[in-house]
Amino acid sequence: MILKTKISTILIVEDEVSLRNALRDKFIRKGFKILLAKDGEAGLIIAVQEQPDLILLDIIMPKMNGMIMLKKLRQGNKWSKNVPVVLLSNLGADDEKMMKEISEDKLAFYLVKSDWSLDGLVIKIREKISLI
């Protein structure tokens, strides 16, 4: 048994239901508390209300995309300026403007979805949370 002092909460914002559920199932099994949103608009509301330890954010989504949600989040209070965000997308590094925005945000990280296994993601996210 691994003893944990605190259970970390992750908000998953992803429009693709199969991917959202896969992430939910894996992270719950690994002992995280999970919040779910299916677009940026809903994600922003839940984020501000629940203040999770980390946000796992898709980029291309209906209503509000991940990049806009990130921007709006960073305009908010002290918590929303400092919450780590892992952008998980299948976009390549083609979009220079987007990559620049992400690299300028010290607490945002970009991962290509199809290049990561779920176990790899869990390790990466534990690492990001422990840095806070």
């Binding site: 693709e16 896969a22 894996k26 299948n90 976009l91 390549g92 083609d94 199809s114 296994s117």
Partner: protein
């Protein structure tokens, strides 16, 4: 008298024949859809056809006698004017043998200063072995370029779309294999492992296609930074250690001390080393040998990366094709079905854009050595 009459008759006939010939030539030249320009040995225009007039906007009478390089300037993709001495036409006039470089598109500038992409063929006019002028024909390749771009963008879009279902398959098989949904029996695990591996292959194929389309679209961004090439190579080797061990390959890595940090894009250089090493591993028999060396050439200010194997080699008659997109040599197609034919194309594109060189030596059934040189002008001491 009769003799005189006959002479006149002959002359009229001759003149008629020459007019006929002229009309025929005129008809031939004006029916050519490509722009055509003839210049004398000073590079002055002596003839242009109708397509030329239409394409560049200059009338024949406005340009006759003027130097063609001034009338129709040529510029590169970025808008840099191609200098007089660099023009193919000038080179052909001076007797130089010129090989058309179709990979490097250029633009011609019209009378109204707008431009269009063109491809051209330049031929010398020879009289008794002496060059007395040049004929150039050129074509507007706007449409071809648009189609090529549309194709590349389609590949890029399709590949991005493919990544989502590939992620779904990957993640759910991973959870099943991990026993998240209950323990699998050994046969189920074995079958599922094949699904997982097949899916991983599809993911790397899509990644390779995306890299290629990024190169073709010119959206590949180089981000050079001072890089420790020795540790870069070491980490690629560690990544591929399982494959090397599985084939019981004798692997060695030699490098000189004091190799400085080199200004290069580390992600792209990793991709180069990954591709070359995985090729060597794939195309070498079990218990074969692979050796990587890093050699510093202080005189030429270059770093040489060398990888040799004693594997299958590349057939002599296909050696000129190995850097071509989607090409795979005959002797390995049967042995390995996993290759995409994109690896070396990617390697070459990266090294070319980094100012380096890549070349190889190979003999079938004896082995292959690839050489990559990287410029290290901007040496940075460790």
């Amino acid at each position: 008298m009769n003799v005189h009459k006959n002479k006149i008759k002959k002359n009229i006939l001759k003149e008629f024949q020459s007019l006929q010939k002229k009309a025929l030539n005129e008809a031939i030249l004006s029916s050519i859809g490509d722009g055509l320009v003839v210049v004398d040995k000073e590079g002055r225009i002596t003839y242009v056809n109708q397509a030329f007039e239409k394409m560049v906007g200059w009338k024949s009478e406005e340009v006759l006698g003027r130097r063609v390089v001034e009338v129709v300037p040529r510029e590169s993709e970025k808008g840099e004017v191609v200098l007089f001495n660099e023009r193919i036409l000038t080179k052909v006039l001076s007797g130089e043998v010129v090989i058309a470089d179709l990979t490097n598109p250029f633009y011609y500038i019209r009378k109204d200063k707008t431009r269009f992409p063109a491809s051209s063929i330049v031929n010398p006019i020879l009289l008794g072995g002496e060059i007395i002028g040049v004929v150039e024909t050129f074509r507007d390749i706007t449409k071809e370029k648009e189609i090529d771009k549309a194709k590349t963008e389609f590949v890029s879009l399709a590949s991005h779309q493919l990544r989502t279902p590939l992620s779904t398959i990957s993640w759910y098989t991973e959870m099943l294999l991990a026993g998240d949904a209950g323990k699998l029996n050994s046969e189920q695990a074995k079958y599922l492992d094949e699904v997982y591996k097949g899916n991983q292959r599809m993911i790397s194929l899509v990644n390779a296609l995306l890299s290629v389309s990024r190169m073709d679209l010119g959206t590949f961004v180089l981000e050079p930074e001072p890089t420790d090439v020795v540790s870069l190579v070491k980490s690629v080797v560690i990544e591929q250690k399982p494959q090397i061990d599985r084939k019981k390959i004798k692997f060695s890595f030699e490098f000189e001390k004091n190799i400085p940090l080199i200004q290069v894009d580390p992600k792209l250089l990793s991709m180069v080393v990954q591709n070359l090493l995985s090729n060597s591993v794939k195309y070498t028999v079990d218990k074969g040998k692979i050796k990587i060396s890093l050699i510093l050439d202080n005189k030429k200010k270059t770093l040489l990366f060398k990888i040799s194997d004693n594997g299958y080699g590349i057939p002599k008659n296909q050696q000129d094709k190995i850097f071509t997109k989607l090409f795979r040599a005959d002797n390995v197609r049967g042995k390995d079905t996993e290759g995409t034919g994109l690896g070396l194309y990617i390697v070459k594109a990266i090294i070319d854009s980094s100012g380096g060189k890549v070349y190889f030596e190979s003999k079938e059934d004896e082995g292959t050595t690839f050489y990559v040189t990287l410029p290290c002008n901007s040496l940075i001491k460790k």
